[in-house]
Each structure stands twice: as C-alpha cells, then as structure tokens.
C-alpha cells in the first residue's frame, strides 16, 4: 500500500506565494475529502498559521514534537472549517537548524501513520539548510514562481538543487499572472516561463486582490467560491489528485455575457 503523497512547496525566492499556495491547496484537497497535514517548515518565520487563520490555537509546534516535549497529535491543529485538515506549525523563536533532515523524515513517517494521505510542506525561502530540511522527506516538489525575472531565475536554480536532492520532475505553478499585462506585451506569459524553465506546468493562478482580503481574514481564497485565484487553486488540487482539468482561461470576464461565459466555462 502506498503511503500517500509528500509534496514540498518551494520557490527559492521569497514572497512569491509559497505559503498562500500551501494553505489553499491544503484547504482544497481537504474539501475534496482527503486527509491533509500541512507542515510549516519555515522555522523562525512562522506564517502558515496566520494565512490559515489558526494562529490563536497554537499550543505546541514542530520543534516541541521533535524535542519530545509533546506528542505529535498534541501539536496538530485541526481546522474547524475542514475537519480533514491539520496544521503542524513552525516554531517562531528558533532557527532553521532546530529540525534536521532525519527528524523531518521521522515526522513525515509519523504523520503518515496517523493516516494523513497528503502532506504538504511549506518550504522556507532560500537554498540553505532550511531548504534542505524541508525537502528531506518529500517525494514530490511544486515550484511556485511569478512571471518576473528574479523569481524565474531562482526557480531555475531550485530545479537544479531539487534534482541534486533526487527530487525529480518538479511541477510548476505560475502565480500572480496579470493577463492584461501579458496581452499588452508587458509581462512574460505562462508559455514564456515554461519555455525557459522547461518543467511540467501544474497550474496558473491569476493575480487576485481577493488573496489579500482573504489572507487578512485568515480564510484561504480556495474557500471563496467567487475568487478567481481560489478557483485556480481548486483546479490545481484536482490535478494533484490526477484529474484532467483544463487550464483556466485567463481572459478577464466582465459584463453580463462575460459572467455567463464564466458560469459555463470549465473553470
């Protein structure tokens, strides 16, 4: 029997949307009935709890579990909106060396024993020890990038480093795409980014103000029916599960006919 999926979400560059992606994909997978554990590996810069709206419920964290101050189950925070989703929060007052690769692998095995079929790891920015720890127990990788030069360059570096760590065939999420700018030749298109990185495209997430408002409230956009980015994340979650979902049209749809079209589009 397979132990389920262990996916690290990484990018190299900071601020491209790793944590938002982890939160949204976790929510969407749980909404589809999967048992999901989200693991915040960004020790010292804890944020996944905040994006998920679970920051007030933290008692123990990942380092408490590793240093055996509590049981794994005590540190897991169950989401009230999605009972199939738990978060293992990062420690805020420690640094990246607080958990080593072996401890990470043990944690993941323990989570799998608890029955979590999807383990998503929110990787810290950078390529140093934190990256190595976060990728240690993963068997798959998702690279998040924005369609701009510095994050694509960093993504390319990450492809190489993942390969060196035996994590082959990473999949790409192009985040914060602005279709209007692409149309006006002001921004690289998804095809441009894909051509440069030549890795498999998992999905496209349009730039969406709703990400900011939903993050402000601690409610991931994938829970919001009307959010374009939320829809994109729900689609990506389906693709992760192996469903064949066509890429969302990036055309801005306005007006009655636009909305009507959107209603009937595959989304």
């Amino acid at each position: 029997m397979s132990n389920g999926r262990v996916i690290v979400i990484t990018s190299g560059k900071g601020g491209v949307g790793k944590t938002t992606t982890t939160a949204n994909l976790g929510m969407a997978l749980a909404a589809m009935g999967e048992k999901v554990a989200l693991l915040d590996a960004d020790i010292g810069l804890r944020n996944l709890d905040l994006v998920l709206g679970l920051e007030n419920r933290i008692v123990y964290d990942i380092v408490d579990v590793v240093e055996e101050r509590c049981k794994l189950r005590q540190a897991l925070i169950k989401d009230k909106r999605q009972p199939d989703l738990v978060l293992l929060p990062a420690a805020q007052t420690r640094d990246k060396s607080a958990v080593n690769p072996d401890q990470m692998r043990k944690l993941i095995a323990d989570l799998q024993e608890e029955g979590y079929r999807y383990i998503l790891i929110d990787c810290p920015a950078g390529i140093e020890q934190g990256f190595k720890n976060a990728t240690a127990g993963a068997t798959e990788a998702i690279i998040v990038t924005n369609p701009e030069v510095s994050s694509v360059r960093d993504a390319d570096r990450i492809v190489g480093l993942l390969e060196a760590a035996e994590l082959r065939n990473p999949q790409l999420i192009v985040n914060r795409l602005r279709p209007k700018m692409v149309k006006n030749q002001e921004m690289m298109s998804v095809e441009d980014v894909q051509e440069i990185l030549s890795i498999k495209l998992l999905g496209i997430v349009p730039d969406d103000e709703m990400i900011i408002t939903s993050t402000n409230r601690g409610e991931p956009a994938s829970l919001v029916e009307t959010s374009r980015a939320g829809q994109a994340y729900r689609n990506i979650a389906k693709r992760i599960k192996g469903e064949d979902v066509p890429l969302m049209s990036m055309e801005e749809t306005t007006g009655f006919f636009g909305k009507l079209k959107k209603l009937f589009a595959a989304g």
Binding site: E148, V149, R153, D156, R157, G160, Q185, E186, M187, I196
Partner: protein, 93 residues
C-alpha cells in the same frame, strides 16, 4: 498597428517590449547560471586538458588560461594555451 511595428513583425525583428526583454535577458542569464562550473571542477578540467595537449605540444604552463565567457547569446569555454613548440614525434603519430 503602426507601420514600423508591422514591418518589424513581418521581418521577424525583435520587438522591444518589456515582455520580450524579460524573456531574452532571462535566457541569457540562465545560460550563464546553468553553465557555471565550480572552481575545483574547472581546475581538474584544466589539468586534464594540459595532460592531453602535452602529448602533442609543449605548453607554457604558467601562462595557461581557461575561462568561461559569455558572448553573443552563447557560453563558451575559452582556453588560451601558449605553445612553446610542437613535439617532433607527433608529426608521425
């Protein structure tokens, strides 16, 4: 579409949009990044190159230079190898 733009398109000239600037610059810098050779590997390559070449020519070892150069959209390994003389036996071999 303005005539110059149209002509540029027609003759496949590069447009100077921000989009293509990003793409072109990235392609170049990544070619460089990807071809970046770590110092110890470079040193080893240099030594082995010397070994092979020394079979045929006598090389001024102190003046030997091997480097990576980026030019005109390609990355090249440039070796400047001052030769003192050709070994006579290699003419036959």
């Amino acid at each position: 579409m303005a005539l110059p733009t149209f002509l540029d398109k027609l003759f496949g000239r590069q447009d100077n949009s921000a989009r293509s600037a990003a793409k072109d610059r990235l392609k170049l810098v990544l070619m460089h990044d990807r071809a970046d050779i770590p110092a110890p590997m470079m040193e080893q390559m240099r030594a082995e190159l010397m070994q092979v070449l020394s079979k045929y020519v006598e090389i001024d070892q102190t003046a030997l230079e091997v480097s990576l150069e980026r030019s005109e959209g390609t990355v090249a390994l440039l070796a400047n190898i001052p030769i003192k003389r050709v070994r006579p036996e290699t003419a036959e071999a």
